[in-house]
């Protein structure tokens, strides 16, 4: 039973239980929204972009980010601790030989603290079912044509870890400030459906 639960009997049961809890005064109607807001608080793709820019200008930080994502992002004041427990962050670096792309095939697991709420396409049945099977074709539809020599690795974020892609630094960006570099990084680049 690993399909989409949005309209399943389980989802209906959850809504029913939620209504009963509110009716009996066990749950404040705003409590769930507050928890969701707390989880998403401060989450925006600008956070992920700041991490990438720092990794581009600071090779030692890049190494720390790839070795232990949770410890490294704390250096910039970020945390994966918004949920009930801290989530493990794994960062994968793209290079000429290998390109990484992230999906959650079971639902929509996503590093909200670093990227904000996920885009609609990330949660779509089409993306979730197709990118694990034919990533090269899906990336092409996103406008990303990879050389045949570049291997693709798809990361299925369906369990406890969350993933962030470290894109390759674009050429001709020597001398740009960290802030300018961060401005080049897109949400799609951080998920792996764009080059940067």
């Amino acid at each position: 039973m690993s399909g989409n639960h949005a309209s399943s009997p389980v989802a209906a049961q959850v809504r029913h239980v939620e209504a009963l809890l509110e009716e009996r005064g066990l749950l404040d109607p705003h409590e769930i929204d507050e928890r969701i807001d707390a989880l998403a608080a401060g989450g925006t793709p600008a956070n992920g972009a700041a991490l990438v820019a720092r990794a581009w200008v600071d090779p030692a930080f890049r190494e720390r980010l790839l070795a232990d994502g949770n410890a490294a992002i704390a250096e910039l004041g970020f945390s994966m601790g918004g949920a009930l427990q801290e989530q493990k962050l794994t960062v994968m670096a793209n290079d000429a030989d290998e390109h990484h792309v992230v999906v959650c095939t079971l639902c929509s697991c996503y590093p909200i603290a670093l990227l904000g709420p996920s885009p609609g396409w990330y949660k779509s049945e089409a993306y979730r079912s197709r990118v694990v099977r034919e990533p090269r074709a899906v990336l092409r539809e996103f406008g990303l044509e990879l050389p045949a020599s570049t291997r693709i690795t798809v990361w299925d974020a369906s369990a406890e870890s969350r993933y962030l892609v470290l894109p390759r630094r674009p050429e001709d960006t020597e001398g740009r400030s960290e802030e300018e570099l961060a401005g080049l990084v897109t949400r799609k680049g951080l998920i792996g459906t764009a080059a940067v």
């Binding site: 039973m1 794994t90 690795t153 369906s158 369990a159």
Partner: protein, 93 residues
């Protein structure tokens, strides 16, 4: 409790389709792969979803060749899997 697997180990995933919640995606069932790394220790989602007590146990990043999952494709897929979903792959592939 010691981890059952280590990076580099060849593993095979369970085939059974449980009636309860699981985090072993259907496309990765009965497949051969290789443990890339240990991704921490967590209670088993299948047990937590049913309200059962569950001790933390190792979760692994397991890399599969697309051709082993789908019969086609030159890419790789890394899935995070609890050790309960895995058995050693001793047989020749």
């Amino acid at each position: 409790m010691t981890d059952r697997f280590a990076p580099g180990d060849r593993v095979r995933t369970r085939i059974a389709d449980p009636t309860h919640h699981t985090r072993l995606p259907r496309y990765a069932r009965g497949a051969r792969g290789e443990v890339v790394s240990t991704a921490g220790h967590h209670p088993l989602a299948d047990e937590r979803a049913r309200g059962l007590a569950s001790d933390p146990r190792a979760v692994y990043h397991v890399r599969f060749a697309a051709s082993d999952l789908f019969g086609a494709g030159d890419h790789a897929v890394v899935v995070e899997l609890w050790e309960d979903y895995l058995e050693p792959d001793g047989s020749p592939s």
